[in-house]
Symmetry: C2
Subunit: 144 residues, 2 copies
């Protein structure tokens, strides 16, 4: 069995807290993010916490998207896990970075699937600057 | 802002395919896994694919659990992302390893939260043997 998928973890901080507060806005943005990634939506479930914060998941034919927002920290934790070659998960987080006005972003990509080497690539960038990306050193591949 | 959470990715392979095939069994197992982790369940959504395979997500007060099963590959991809100190996510995947009879397991733990260093710890073990765990080398911390 080859790697069955790619799991991208995006830490979005210094966001506009108002954008993270509204269940309607977060849900709508996630649906749009899934569409921009060319994912096929199967199920949608969102929840608003008290006093604030929204969590939501979208099951797609290719796996899932998930989000958790902390307006009080201007922070959102986003995941998109996709299988196959028909999706563009980068378009999903790029869209959310725009919508939530995130000024600091850390992207981690993990290959999913038991027989594949567990390789992680970490991108750390400021959206207003050039994106820098770097694969982890070979030491990591040896370790895992 | 400190690390807001811990995201555990579990790759379960060489499972009993029948256990991965049933939506009812997968859903029930995930709910039980959430309870054993001492998580507070908020929303549950599962989906059965054709010809086979189940995807499901549980939104918990502490973030989420997610699963995708490939009975044809005897493989399940499991995630549990928790915030705070009141949960025991290890109990969730230990339970699922038992229920799905996984003979090979790879666990990856990722700290979530933008200001925390992105540190990953990888555990690779055969459930029938002693668990071996190893933090990634310092080279990784430098890279991220």
């Amino acid at each position: 069995m080859k790697a069955l998928g790619r799991h991208i973890i995006a830490e979005l901080s210094q966001c506009n807290p108002d954008a993270l507060r509204s269940l309607t806005k977060v849900k709508r943005s996630m649906v749009e993010a899934a569409k921009r990634a060319n994912a096929e939506i199967r199920e949608i479930k969102f929840h608003r916490f008290s006093p604030e914060g929204v969590s939501g998941v979208i099951i797609i034919a290719e796996s899932h998207l998930a989000i958790h927002t902390w307006p009080e920290n201007e922070y959102a934790a986003f995941d998109i896990y996709t299988c196959g070659d028909t999706t563009n998960p980068e378009k999903a987080y790029q869209y959310l970075i725009e919508v939530f006005e995130a000024k600091k972003v850390v992207i981690t990509t993990i290959e999913r699937g038991i027989e594949a080497p567990t390789e992680a690539y970490v991108h750390r960038f400021n959206p207003t600057e050039t994106i820098e990306s770097a694969p982890l050193p070979s030491a990591m591949s040896q370790a895992v």
